[in-house]
């Protein structure tokens, strides 16, 4: 029984499939990163998994429980953090968490303990009496993580958890995610920030126009591009304009040019610029990601 199993998941808005027959699964205690540009269907996929919207087709199983048949049972084992977390602004963090704890049927002493523990975990204990309306977005995101963990869920759904917050805030959220990872939670994180996903994910799925175009480890995705995408650095100071038909892209960076190509063009480049100035490189995940999005793999 896998913590997250998604099969042929489809969501249609106004006749357009925002999520189109998406299938994937996440192993226990793994972090699965869902990558994709804006509008790719990441948030919709997460909302479908959280039971906030209903799919037109497909099946979702969380810890073996069918979401369509037992939505409340599924909601009690998942925690959901989304971009720009919002709370009742006129209430304190303590009151907000107490309210959401009650919604999860936590009561009495245990509720007080959990609320206290979670506020300490996210570093907001000292600010617990402050109205959430006065919190920064970074603090709200941390409070969002506290809310998502209140009922000790086994599965965490994080949708752009660092979106809209400053660098310091991003670091503290990232730190919290690392800690959660070590607490044996199964995490699905959606983001368009490749670096973040690459750092914390065990496996990655690439979404494009609602379809999952690639799935695997970051290394696996990069390796899958071997023989498909080639990268060279050409150490000439001037920008290269005519870099061959097979080339996908050429970027001028300081005194060099980075050339991406769909065919091996090392010999062409060596002939033109000199072999000692041309060096083959392995494409980064970002380049692989952009290539896949740009070339409709």
């Amino acid at each position: 029984m896998l913590p997250i199993e998604v099969e042929d998941l489809t969501k249609v808005y106004d006749g357009r499939a925002v999520v189109d027959r998406v299938t994937f699964s996440v192993a226990r205690h793994h972090v699965f990163g869902l990558l994709g540009p804006n509008g790719a269907g990441k948030t919709t996929t997460i909302k479908l998994l959280a039971g906030l919207i209903r799919p037109q087709a497909g099946r979702i199983r969380i810890l073996g429980i069918d979401l369509t048949r037992q939505p409340l049972a599924v909601k009690s084992v998942i925690g959901h953090v989304y971009a720009n977390m919002a709370f009742y602004n006129d209430m304190s963090a303590l009151d907000n968490l107490t309210f959401f704890g009650r919604l999860h049927r936590i009561r009495g002493k245990r509720l007080r303990q959990r609320v206290g523990a979670m506020l300490r975990f996210v570093g907001l204990w000292d600010e617990r009496g402050k109205r959430v309306g006065k919190y920064s977005q970074g603090m709200k995101q941390r409070l969002g993580i506290a809310r998502a963990l209140l009922h000790e869920p086994s599965v965490l759904l994080l949708d752009e958890p660092t979106s809209g917050i400053d660098v310091q805030g991003v670091n503290s959220i990232r730190e919290l995610i690392y800690q959660l990872r070590s607490q044996d939670k199964t995490i699905l994180i959606a983001s368009h920030q490749l670096g973040e996903i690459e750092l914390i994910s065990d496996s990655i799925g690439l979404l494009k126009n609602g379809r999952l175009v690639s799935i695997g480890t970051s290394q696996g995705i990069k390796e899958s591009l071997r023989g498909i995408l080639y990268k060279y650095v050409v150490r000439v100071p001037q920008p290269i304009k005519d870099f061959g038909l097979a080339a996908v892209e050429c970027r001028h960076v300081k005194d060099s040019n980075i050339v991406l190509a769909s065919e091996p063009i090392e010999s062409d480049l060596a002939e033109r610029f000199g072999a000692d100035l041309v060096e083959p490189l392995e494409p980064t995940l970002e380049e692989a990601f952009l290539w896949m999005l740009g070339n409709g793999k």
Partner: protein
């Protein structure tokens, strides 16, 4: 069940602690306070008007006061201040006068308070946290609607209580006997009435999912209710028949009534009682007066029966009829011809007043149930 009760409590607390709540209480309070003062002024004006119109005539002349739909129609004695003093009496009169305005103020407030409730949660994203919890959306919706309605009813109660107390001191009127129970019952019904519009506001909010659109739609709905009310009233006025009159009493009747010892006793006698030992001319006139009153009563009663349905669908008459039945010291038939009557002791029970307004209450409950069901249906299918 426990969670449901807690949720209802949570939404009541939120409604009461919201910044808009205070302005709502102040608005209701001011309205009733003004109504209270207006009540005192009306009473004085009635006295002056009676003296001007009837001069020395003190015979119990039936005067017809007919409102659209005849729902709260009464034929009352304009020459005898017993009416003003006892029906509806004391502190209840201003409340009753204010209810004419509450019919539009409360829907507007209910609609506006509810119009942003769900859409704002959807826009801000709080809804995602709320609906991610393992609780049925229908239960959540039910708790929200009940909590909001009860919160608003409580605010109305606080506003009315403050205003009535303040104005009561100002015009030296206080609660007596069953007036407190009647007033509380009326406030609960007003809360229920407002909750009908809270349900409409919630529905609009959930369907449109945009605060600005919801607010404007709710304002438009309030205007349509108001305009529909006015149009309906004017239609009824245009087609309403006029009621017969009777000549003013001759001098002999006035002299007889002046010298009668009824002014020395507590309650004035009826026309028949007055006529019993009167000279023939006075006797004849007083009996004609009684017969005239009876004819008027039958006509008004017939109109009332024919037009009462309007009250069940017309907010102003719904509130006015319920107020008319509840906010009185003595229990009158809505179409009863007023003639000097002894005060009723004890005051009729509240349930009897409520039973008299059964059609309006039933209409309101039916609309509430329909809207409640619709709300639950929409909220349980709400995608966030």
């Amino acid at each position: 069940m426990m969670l449901f009760i807690r949720l209802v409590g949570f939404f009541i607390a939120r409604r009461i602690s919201a910044g808009t709540a205070l302005s709502f209480v102040v608005l209701i309070g001011m309205l009733v306070f003004v109504g209270m003062l207006n009540g005192a002024r009306t009473r004085a004006a009635m006295l002056g008007d009676t003296v001007q119109r009837f001069g020395p005539a003190v015979a119990p002349m039936p005067a017809v006061s007919v409102d659209v739909g005849s729902v709260h129609t009464q034929v009352w004695d304009a020459t005898n201040l017993t009416y003003v003093a006892t029906y509806p009496g004391g502190v209840l009169l201003p409340l009753r006068l204010s209810s004419r305005w509450l019919f539009i103020i409360l829907p507007l407030v209910g609609l506006l308070l509810a119009s942003r409730e769900i859409s704002q949660e959807l826009e801000s994203g709080v809804a995602q946290s709320v609906y991610a919890a393992p609780i049925r959306p229908s239960v959540l919706g039910m708790a929200r609607v009940l909590g909001d309605s009860m919160g608003i009813a409580l605010l109305i109660g606080i506003g009315l209580a403050l205003a009535v107390s303040a104005a009561g001191c100002f015009v030296r009127l206080g609660f007596i006997g069953g007036q407190v129970v009647r007033s509380i019952t009326f406030v609960i019904i007003l809360g229920f009435y407002t909750s009908v519009f809270v349900l409409v506001g919630n529905l609009v909010s959930a369907l449109l999912r945009s605060s600005i659109q919801s607010v404007w739609t709710c304002v438009a709905i309030a205007l349509v209710v108001f305009a529909g009310q006015m149009a309906g009233e004017n239609l009824f006025i245009a087609r309403h028949r006029s009621y017969p009159t009777i000549p003013f009493p001759p001098r002999l009747v006035n002299e007889y009534l002046y010298s009668h010892d009824m002014w020395m006793t507590g309650a004035p006698p009826s026309a028949e009682e007055l006529a019993a030992d009167a000279p023939p001319e006075v006797h004849r006139y007083l009996l004609e007066l009684a017969a005239h009153g009876q004819r008027l009563f039958e006509m008004v009663q017939a109109d009332y029966r024919r037009e009462r349905w309007f009250a069940a669908i017309s907010p102003v008459h719904l509130v006015w009829e319920i107020a008319g039945q509840l906010l009185q010291d003595r229990h009158e038939n809505a179409t009863e011809i007023f003639a000097p009557q002894p005060p009723v002791d004890p005051t009729p029970p509240v349930w009897l007043s409520l039973r008299r307004a059964w059609a309006e209450l039933l209409g309101m409950v039916a609309v509430w149930l329909a809207l409640f069901g619709l709300n639950i249906r929409v909220l349980s299918r709400l995608e966030v």
